[in-house]
Structure formats: C-alpha cells, structure tokens
C-alpha cells in the first residue's frame, strides 16, 4: 500500500504534477493552507449571517432572504463543522505541519509522499461533499457539529436531516480517513526521518506539537469513523444503535432500544481530543515564536514537551465533561470533573513557561510575536472559564448557554486562529520568499485582538444571564430583551472584526507579489528551515543532509558572536 513510495522522487515537471497532484510536502502544505483559507471565510460568512439574524430577526438578506429558524440551525451546524474540521484541524496540522515538519527535522520529504497527496485530495473531497449539503433538497443539516442523535439519526427529523445530513456524515467519514492518512505520515516521518543529530529532545516544539497532534488524531478519528458508520446505518439501513422507541408527529419511527447516549460517548471520545488537535499546533507555534522574538531560550523545554504529552493523555479521559446534563451517574461526572481540572496543571505549566520566556527579555514586537502573545492571552482568558464548566454543579447552570460558546470560541477557536496567524506571519517569508507588510499586520492584529475580546467577553455575561445557545431568536422573550443591546454590540464587533480580516487577506496576496524580498533568515531564528534557501528547493536542503548539533532555542548564548546559534552550527560544540 505504501511501500512503493520513496522520498527520493525527482523534481516534477509540468503544471499538473507540480502544483495539483504534487508529491512535494511543501506544495501539499500550501494546498491545505489555501483550502483552510477558503473554509475560514465560508465559516465566517455563516457566523455573520447568524449574528445579523440574532439581533434583526426580520431582516431580509440579499440572495438568501429571511432566515428561518431551521435555516439558522443549518447555519450553525455548517459554521461549526467547517470551522472545526476544515480550518482548525486542517490549517495548523495539514498546512504548516506538512510544510515545516520535514524541513524542521531535516528530512527531504514526508515518509510516504503519495499517501500525503492522497490525504490532501481526500480532505478536498470531504470539503466538497460538505459544501454540497447546502445545495441539496432540504438544505444543510440541523443537528449542530456534534450531530446528536436522535435528531441526526432520522431522515424525517427535520428539513435538513434528509440528504443534507447524509452528505454531512459522509463528509465527516471521508475527512476521518484523510486525517488518519495524514497522522500516519506525520508519526512515521517524525520517528524515522530525523536528520543526524536531531534527537527527539532537540526537535523544535512545533514538531513535538505536530507529532502529539498526529497521535491524538490517530486514536480519535477511528472512533468518530465508527460512530459515523453506525449513524449512517441507523439512518439508511433501519438499525437502532442510537435510536430509542419514539414517534415523529405521532408516527412510530420503527426504531427501538438504541441509546442516544451512546452517540454522545462515541462522539465526545473523539470530540475532546479534537479540541487539542486544534490547539496543540498553536501551542507549538507560540513557543517557537515567543522564544525567537524574546531572543531567549524557551523556558523549560522539557517541561513544555511533557506538558503537551500530559495534555494529550488527559484529553482522552475527560470526554464525559461534555455530558454532565445527559443524566450520567454523578459518580462518573465527579471523575470526569476531577480529570478535567487536572488538565489545568499542564496548561498552567505551559502558560507560566511562556511568561517565563518573556520575563526580562528584550522583546522584538514584530507581527508574529504580537499574534503569539495574543495566543497566550486568549489561551488564558478562554482557559480560565474551563474550570467553571468542568464542575457539574456550575455546568448545570451554564450548560447550553452563551457561556459555553464564549469559552470554546476563545480557547479553541480564536486562540488556534491566532496560532495560525502567528505561523503565517512567521513563515510567510520562507514560504513565498517575500516579507509581509508589517504595518498592515499591526492593523490586522489590533482589529483581531480587540475585536475578538469584544465579541466573546460579553458572551460570558449573556450566558450567566441565561441566554440559551442554538436558539435562533431571543428578541421576543421577556427576560432576554434587556440583553438585546449587548447582543447588538457583539454583532457590531463581529462585523468590524470580520472586516479587519480583509486587511489580512490583502496583506497575504499583495505581499506574495510585491513584498520586500526576504533573506534566508529574516527573524534570526535557529531552526533548520532557516538554514536553507528561501523558498526551499524541491528536496528542502539542495542536495545535502543537515547535521544537527544543538537544541532548537539557543538564543543569547554567552560567548557566541551573534545572539543566537543555529541548530546546524558546529562551532560551539568545542566550546561546550
């Protein structure tokens, strides 16, 4: 299946082999990145429609018309699904991981290039199938990105639950297979293709984060695939895995004996690790960027590695904290609660190590650094509401209110997006050979940073005041009417923040053509991608194999002529 591939393939000729069905991990990384870029704008557009509908429910939107309650549910389903799968899973891992993991460990390509190409095109297929759900009879499904049964398991449960839901599940299944192929490649590459001298403990923290993310994906996506198979069987083959006895509009469904709770268990066994799949690469990038622009070694490299491993491990033991309201035993709820709060420990280790890296540093406040600091800020702000939701007693009050979207958008959504932004600004010179505009990047940062807080901070308050999530309208409800001004404020903030993203889009594409030419190492960074040409040649290092002598963050080395020592620099070995 995989064996005929080798990374010794020659540089391809012709447009198709070079840019479309390319085996080069760098091209595949960019393909993933641009797929995620289109997906993030689709997802943002959907959220904009939802925000407008929430505060002006009667508004008629050009080409779409008035948003009906079921349309609202379809919007929120597709917003969540597209953002989680095709942005947060795709860009940091598939995009930057594909592009920079082989270069950072000194390999000429991924371990299985053909599998890598198949992984991208399978993801692309999943994306097309997902988007097609908008255009079939009945439209997109209503069941949210979590797809809770029985709503998701019955064809007749709602307008979008016919073909739209089938396409949704099929797309998720295809995406699982694509992610598994990718994870297999990442793990094999990390274990087997490191350059001479690149021990595991000399890998940049980005590589560690991609490696751990791949392990999480490897273990989690198989379970989601199994749940998807069972769901498709329930929907189309008359089985009752997730469907208890019940009626729709007074008519018996014909199913009996199944357990909707089983879906929740299987889904969240995948769903919680998925949260870390989204955020771990951001942690890696933040560590890399903070160390580089603080001109200091990362504080506690080993602790950072072990903390990420601990987060990954604990991430598999806490899925029940999404289900405190499902009627599970209070004893198991207690266990899940304790495990969840235990994740606060490695998370705090990481946070304090980031702060320790910044402490007393002569910080270079360039655009990647701004977004990395923004990542830490959002990670703390979003993370602190975690221990609230981790307690069953508090969760019963806060569950299914705006407090929950506020929490997960900050920590998993926007923090991960800031990680992607930091990575984009940091690696853009290497990928495209030009610099991005620094002033536009600053504008983009302040729009995004202030805008994000303006959107999601008030949502905590809405949640505590009892605003339920997933409801298409709250304007007619007496106790929610006083909250309407705050809702309007959030909508205005969202519009401005989304407009601010156009600055990024302009900066990205304009800089590709007209940006200042980048040198090989514009940030004076130490890792291997900065030792090679810009952009890197087909085999990454132009025919020679890098040899590694140092850990990844040798900044401010006493006695060295510059304030940093490249990983490949043999000079200081004698001095140590």
């Amino acid at each position: 299946m995989v064996a005929q591939e080798s990374h010794g393939h020659a540089a391809p000729q012709g447009f198709i082999r070079k840019y479309v069905f390319s085996l080069d991990h760098k091209v595949i990384g960019l393909q993933y990145y641009f797929l995620a870029l289109t997906a993030v704008f689709v997802g943002m557009f959907l959220s904009l429609l939802m925000r407008i509908h929430l505060v002006w429910p009667g508004a008629s939107i050009p080409l779409i018309g008035e948003i009906k309650p079921e349309t609202y549910l379809a919007l929120l389903t597709m917003h969540g699904t597209i953002m989680v799968f095709f942005v947060l899973t795709t860009a940091p891992q598939g995009g930057f991981g594909n592009y920079f993991l082989p270069i950072q460990i000194g390999a000429p390509d991924m371990a299985f290039p053909v599998l890598n190409m198949m992984s991208f095109w399978t993801t692309f297929l999943a994306y097309i199938v997902m988007l097609s759900a908008f255009f079939v009879v009945g439209g997109a499904p209503l069941h949210g990105w979590t797809g809770y049964a029985p709503l998701s398991a019955l064809q007749s449960a709602g307008p979008g639950e016919g073909l739209g839901a089938d396409l949704w599940i099929t797309s998720i299944g295809i995406f699982c297979i694509a992610s598994l192929m990718g994870a297999l490649n990442f793990i094999t590459t990390t274990l087997d293709m490191r350059a001479k001298g690149m021990t595991m403990m000399r890998m940049p923290l980005t590589c560690w984060s991609w490696f751990i993310t791949a392990i999480l994906g490897l273990l989690a996506f198989g379970v989601l695939l199994s749940a998807g198979i069972l769901l498709l069987m329930d929907r189309n083959m008359g089985t009752s895995f997730f469907l208890p006895l019940g009626t729709i509009n007074g008519v018996l469904t014909g199913h009996k004996g199944g357990s909707p709770l089983l879906w929740q268990h299987l889904f969240w066994f995948f769903g919680h690790p998925e949260v870390y799949i989204a955020i771990l690469p951001g942690m890696g990038v933040a560590s890399q960027v903070l160390s580089t622009f603080a001109r200091k070694p990362i504080f506690g490299y080993k602790a950072m590695v072990y903390a990420m491993l601990a987060i990954g491990l604990l991430g598999f033991m806490v899925w029940g904290h999404h289900m405190f309201m499902s009627g599970m035993s209070p004893y198991s709820a207690f266990a899940f609660s304790v495990m969840t709060m235990a994740i606060g420990v490695p998370s705090a280790i990481k946070t304090f190590n980031w702060l320790g890296t910044l402490w007393g540093a002569r910080i270079r406040f360039q655009s990647p650094m701004l977004f990395a600091i923004g990542f830490v800020s959002l990670f703390v702000s979003g993370g602190l509401s975690g221990p609230f939701l981790a307690q069953p007693v508090l969760d019963i009050q806060l569950h299914d209110t705006y407090f929950v979207p506020a929490h997960f958008h900050l920590i998993m959504g926007v923090a991960a997006i800031f990680g992607i932004f930091a990575a984009t600004y940091y690696w853009f010179p290497k990928m495209f050979g030009r610099m991005m505009s620094e002033s536009l990047a600053r504008w983009h940062f302040w729009f995004s940073f202030i805008g994000t807080y303006a959107i999601f901070m008030p949502m905590h308050y809405l949640g505590m005041a009892g605003q339920p999530r997933r409801y298409s309208q709250g304007t007619e409800v007496a106790y929610l009417r006083p909250l309407l001004p705050l809702q309007k404020f959030i909508t205005y903030a969202a519009i401005i923040t989304i407009a601010g993203q156009l600055i990024f889009l302009w900066n990205l594409f304009a800089s590709m053509r007209t940006g200042k030419k980048a040198t090989d190492n514009p940030w004076e960074s130490t890792t291997l991608e900065w030792t090679t040409a810009t952009p890197p040649p087909h085999d990454n290092f132009g025919g020679h194999t890098p040899v590694v002598y140092h850990g990844p963050y040798e900044y401010a080395v006493p006695g060295a002529p510059r304030d940093y020592v490249m990983q490949t620099d043999p000079a200081t070995v004698a001095a140590h």
Partner: protein, 248 residues
C-alpha cells in the same frame, strides 16, 4: 559554515535550555544510518514501511474497540416495551451460521500461512539477488510456487464465504435491521470484510508489479507489509468470531 573561536569560554547552557545534552554530535537522529540524501536503501525503506503499517493498524484497532464498546453497552441496555409497559432486555441471540464460519476461519488461517510463505520466499530472493547477478550462478528453478496467487484466491474464498454466511442469516430471517444482535453481526463482519478486501487489493498490486517487472525490492516491501496486515486481519477475525460466539 561560519566558525568562530569565542574569546571567553562559553558556559554550559542554563538547565532550562532545550536540548542541553549537547555533546553527542551527529548520532541519534531517526534517519541514522541513511547512506546519503535521495533514494534510501532497501532496509531503511522496509523499516519505514513496517513502521507505517504498525501505525496504520492503530486506527483500525480503535475502530473495532469502539464497535466492541458499543456492542457491550447495547447488550446490557434494557429497553422500554410499550406492549407490556415494562423495561425488558431486547437483545436476542441469533443463530450464527457456525459451519460456514468454521470453514471461513480455516480458509483465512490457511491464507495467513500462504501469505507468510510468500513473504519469506520473496525476502529470500531479495537477499540472494546480488549473487544471482553473477554470470553462471543459478539459484535453481526460476519458477516459483505462486503463494501470492494462492493467498488472493483464499482471500476471495473467505469473502465469498462471508457473503454466503450473510445469505444464510437472511434466509433464517435475520437482516441488518432485525434486532441489535443481528445489526452487530452484519456490522462487524462487514467492516472486517471491507478491510480484508483492501488486503486483497494490495496483494493484487504486488502481483501486478510482477507483471510490470518493478524492482524486486519494491515488490518485497509491498508483500511484506501486506503479509503483516493480513496476519492482523486473521487475528481480528478470530477476535470478532470470539466476540460474536461468546457474548451473544
């Protein structure tokens, strides 16, 4: 590469510094032992393919772990029966087509043996290939027993047997949607059959490389990896059979 001589002796990095075990200069990378950039040698490619397979088996295992947990949960789940207005256990054991399953198991285990013989044979040929190129040296008969072809036939035989087993179940009135136990029997056997079909396709690829006269070493890697995958499928089948027979 710029080199320098520090005027003051460089100190050891602070303990917080990443990767501070500096002295071992060039050992310990994952790609240690790679002769040069470019085409890796056969042993490295084989190791990498085997590692890839081992990792690829993990999600397959997780898939069946997940099915098993669903199986166990569903089996113990009481369900409300509106007819008697009480909570009943609706998991009814179904009569499995045991004769067919026994034959299929024997066929699959036999195919596991033949694929192992094919794997060892081709490994031997790869090892002896350098000698064979010496003029006048012959390793005896060039005609090989078609172990690979036999494995494909046995694999297809197993899949046919599984299809017959489903037919027999259906003839007895047990369909996918009849009850929870029949749903799971179809699910487990079906997903296993799809995975085994993937193994058959891989063997066909290995066979086609014979026709296309690809390098023997590449063929060796395909056959080796598929053989391990095939053994895993045989073990998985034993597990599924045990689950269905013992916990029905």
């Amino acid at each position: 590469m710029a080199t320098f001589t520090p005027t003051v002796p460089a100190q050891r990095p602070a303990p917080s510094r990443g990767g501070r075990n500096n002295p071992p200069p060039v050992r310990g990378g994952g790609d240690d032992g790679r002769p040069d950039f470019g085409q890796p040698d056969h042993a490295v490619r084989l190791r990498r393919a085997r590692l890839g397979l081992l990792i690829a088996l993990t999600p397959i295992l997780m898939l069946f772990v997940s099915f098993t947990s669903a199986y166990v949960v569903r089996q113990g789940l009481p369900t409300f029966d509106p007819g008697s207005n009480s909570v009943v256990r609706d998991w009814l054991p179904i009569p499995l087509p045991n004769t067919l399953f026994l034959i299929n198991t024997i066929v699959l285990l036999a195919s596991s043996v033949t694929v192992e013989l094919a794997r060892r044979r081709i490994a031997q040929r790869v090892a002896l290939e350098p000698i064979q190129s010496i003029p006048g040296v012959s390793l005896g008969s060039e005609r090989e027993f078609p172990w690979l072809g036999l494995t494909i036939v046995l694999g297809l035989g197993f899949l046919t047997g599984q299809f017959l087993a489903w037919r027999e179940l259906a003839a007895r009135g047990f369909f996918v949607s009849t009850g929870p136990s029949s749903s799971f029997v179809y699910l487990l056997t079906g997903v296993h059959a799809i995975h085994l079909l993937g193994g058959v396709l891989a063997l066909l690829v290995a066979g086609s490389t014979v026709i296309l006269r690809r390098r023997l070493e590449s063929r060796h890697i395909v056959v080796d990896v598929t053989a391990w995958y095939w053994h895993f499928m045989a073990l998985l089948w034993i597990y599924i059979l045990a689950l269905m027979e013992l916990a029905h």
